[in-house]
Symmetry: C2
Subunit: 363 residues, 2 copies
C-alpha cells in the first residue's frame, strides 16, 4: 500500500436530483436515489456501501448533501445501510453542484484536515466497487494538485453525456485533461469514441479542499463566498447541518463542470471501466437490463406476450399484462401509470410538467 492510497478520503454524496425523468417512480417527494433501481437496495444505500470499507482507500464516514425536504429519507438510508454519517448537509433550496463542491471543500477542510474529498452523486450505478475504489486510490496523489475526475470508458456513442479528452499521463492511470466537451452531436460522439482518448464525464470528483477552493475563488468567487456564508451561519442539530436559507438562496446556481472543470488547467482524469451507469431515463433502465431472450426487462408481476425490447416496471401488488408491443415502456407506481415508446423516454419531462400544471403545484 503506497502513501497516497493510505490518505484519508471523505466521501461527499450529492443527493440533489429531482429525477422527473423517471416519473412516476421518481417524484419530487422521493427522487430516484431513494428507490431500488439497480439492485435490491436503494441507489443511495448502494452509494453508501461503495464508499465504505474496502482495503485500498481509507474512507472516513460519509457526508451527504441533500434537499432539506429529504432529511428524513437520507437519515433513513444511513440507518438502513448501518453506516454513521459524518454530517448531513441540508439545502433549503437547490443551487446546483458548484455550491455543493464549495460546501464540501470548506466542511472537510475543517473537519478532516489533510483529507481528500470524493464528491459523487447518490444516483449512479457502479457494478465494480473494487475497481471504483482502486481508481480513487490511483487518483489520490494527483489529487493533491489537480481535481481528478473519473472518466468512464464509453460503451457506445452516447450524445447525452459530456466527454473528457485525456492528455499526458501524470501518474499510473491518471491523465492530464486536454478538455471537457459538452454533450456532442451523434457524429461527433462517434468520433470521440473511435479516437480512444475520450471518456464520459461521470460526475465523480476527487480533490483536495484547498485546490477546489482555490479554483472556485479564481473562477467563481461569488459562489465560493455565498456557499461559505451559508455554511458559516448554518444551524446544527445532531448530524444535520441546516444551511442558512437567505445566505444559500443568494448563491448562484451553476454546475461544477461549467464553473470550474471546463475552465481550469488543474484537472486530471482517471479512466475507469467499472460498470458505471447514470439511469437518466426509463430507456436507460431498460438498457441496464437484465433483458430476457426477447429483449424485455420486467420488474414486478408482469405477463408479456408477443412483446419485444420493452420495459415493464410494476409496483408490488400490481399485475401488468402486455400483448403485441415492442420498444414500449410501461410503468405503474402508486396511483400513476405511464406508457411511452422507448424512443420518447427523453420527453418525459414534458409529461411531468403538464401533470404538475394540471395539479396546480410547482414543477
Amino acid at each position: 500500500m503506497d502513501a497516497s492510497a493510505a490518505c484519508a478520503v471523505v466521501p461527499v454524496i450529492m443527493s440533489g436530483g429531482s429525477g422527473t425523468r423517471l416519473w412516476p417512480l421518481s417524484t419530487v417527494d422521493r427522487p430516484k436515489q431513494f428507490h431500488a433501481l439497480a439492485s435490491t437496495t436503494s441507489m443511495f444505500q448502494d452509494t453508501l456501501r461503495r464508499v465504505t470499507g474496502g482495503e485500498i482507500v481509507r474512507f472516513m464516514p460519509p457526508v451527504a448533501v441533500s434537499s432539506s425536504r429529504h432529511a428524513g429519507l437520507v437519515s433513513d438510508e444511513f440507518l438502513a445501510a448501518g453506516i454513521e454519517p459524518s454530517a448531513i448537509v441540508l439545502e433549503p433550496v437547490g443551487r446546483n453542484t458548484a455550491a455543493v463542491a464549495a460546501i464540501a471543500a470548506q466542511l472537510v477542510e475543517r473537519s478532516h484536515p489533510g483529507a481528500l474529498v470524493l464528491l459523487l452523486p447518490a444516483d449512479h450505478v457502479v457494478r465494480d466497487t473494487a475497481g471504483f475504489q482502486a481508481a480513487v486510490a490511483r487518483g489520490a496523489e494527483v489529487a493533491r494538485t489537480h481535481i481528478v475526475t473519473l472518466g468512464v470508458k464509453p460503451t457506445r456513442a452516447e450524445s447525452g453525456y459530456g466527454y473528457i479528452q485525456q492528455g499526458i499521463e501524470l501518474a499510473e492511470g491518471v491523465f492530464k485533461v486536454v478538455r471537457f466537451a459538452e454533450k456532442p452531436k451523434p457524429e461527433l460522439a462517434e468520433a470521440y469514441v473511435a479516437s480512444g482518448d475520450y471518456a464520459w464525464n461521470g460526475g465523480i470528483f476527487l480533490f483536495s479542499p484547498d485546490v477546489m477552493l482555490r479554483e472556485l475563488r479564481r473562477f467563481r468567487p461569488d459562489i465560493a463566498a455565498a456557499a461559505g456564508a451559508a455554511l458559516e451561519t448554518a444551524s446544527r442539530d445532531r448530524a444535520f447541518i441546516h444551511l442558512n436559507e437567505d445566505a444559500f438562496a443568494a448563491c448562484p446556481a451553476e454546475s461544477i463542470d461549467y464553473a470550474v472543470m471546463e475552465r481550469t488547467e488543474w484537472v486530471a482524469v482517471a479512466p475507469v471501466d467499472i460498470g458505471w451507469a447514470d439511469i437518466g431515463s426509463w430507456s436507460e433502465l431498460w438498457r441496464l437490463g437484465p433483458q430476457d431472450l426477447s429483449g424485455n426487462v420486467a420488474r414486478g408481476d408482469a405477463l408479456l406476450l408477443d412483446t419485444t425490447n420493452s420495459l415493464v416496471w410494476a409496483a408490488p401488488g400490481i399485475k401488468v399484462a402486455i400483448l403485441g408491443v415492442r420498444d414500449l415502456i410501461v410503468v405503474v407506481q402508486g396511483d400513476s401509470v405511464l406508457v411511452l415508446p422507448k424512443g420518447r423516454a427523453q420527453d418525459l419531462k414534458a409529461v411531468v410538467s403538464r401533470l404538475d400544471a394540471a395539479d396546480g403545484s410547482p414543477a
Copy 2:
C-alpha cells in the same frame, strides 16, 4: 295502436357472458354487463330501461336469466333501476342460449299466457330506445307464427358477426329470413353489406312461447326436455328461481342460433337502425367513442400527449399519462393494467387464460 302492438311482451334478459375480452374491467366475478361502458349506468340497467315503459309495447316486468354467482349483482341492478323483476332465473352452470330460450318460453307460457317473449342480451348497446321498441311492436304480429330477430343494419363489413339474409316482406318492415350466415370472411362480408339485403344478427329475438318450444322440440328435443326438467324441479326464493343443478347440468350447451335459427323456416327478421353495438372488445369500445380530435377515447384521469387513435380506460383515482403512441389500448382497473395495440384486441382471451393459468384458477 293496432292489436299486435298492444299484446303483452315479457322481456327476458340474458346475463350470461363472462366477458373476458374486456379484462381487466370485465371479470368472471363482474362481467361487462355490470359495468358502465356506454353510459353512466351499467349496461344491465340500460337494458332494463330499454324494456320498460314506452307507449307502443305493453312490456311486462322483466325476467333475468343469469349465472347463480351473479344473483346479488342482478338483484342490485333491478334495485338501482327501480324496476321489479318478474323473476330472476339462476343457472348453476352455463348452458348457452338454446337452454335459456327453452326456459324463457316455458316460464312465460305459464306466467303470462298469450304473451310474447323478447329475448335479449344484457350487454348490448342500443342508442335509440324508441326505435328499438318500435321494431318490437312491428314484429309482434309475425311473432305469432315466426321467431322474429332484430337484424341490425350493417355500418361496416364486419367479419366478426353473423349475418341474416332477408327475403319477402311478411308485414310492414318484417321479412322472411332466407338464411343465417355464420361469421363471413372479409370479402364475403363486403359482398353482404353491398347487396343491401343482409343484416347483422343482433341476437335479439321476439317469439311466442309455443312457436319456440315447437321448434326446439323439433330440432333439439333433448335441450327442450332437459331445460324443462331443470325448471320443473327448480326451487323458488322470492323472485329467484334456482334451476335444479343436476337437471340443468345434463342439458346440452348450444346457441339458439345453431340449435334453431339456422335450421327452421319459421324465422323472420325486422331490420333496424337503432345505434346497436355489441362491445365485444376494447377496440369496439374505442370505435363507440366519443373520440376527440386526435381520435382518442379516454375515460378517467388521463393525459394523452402526441397520441392518436388510442383508448385509455382508467378507474377512478388512477392517473394515466401516455406519450407518443398510436392505436394503443391502455386499461387500468383494480390492481391490473393492460396494454395492447387496438389491432390485437381480439387476442385478449389468450392473455386472460394465461393469467388464469398462472393463478391456478380455472379459466
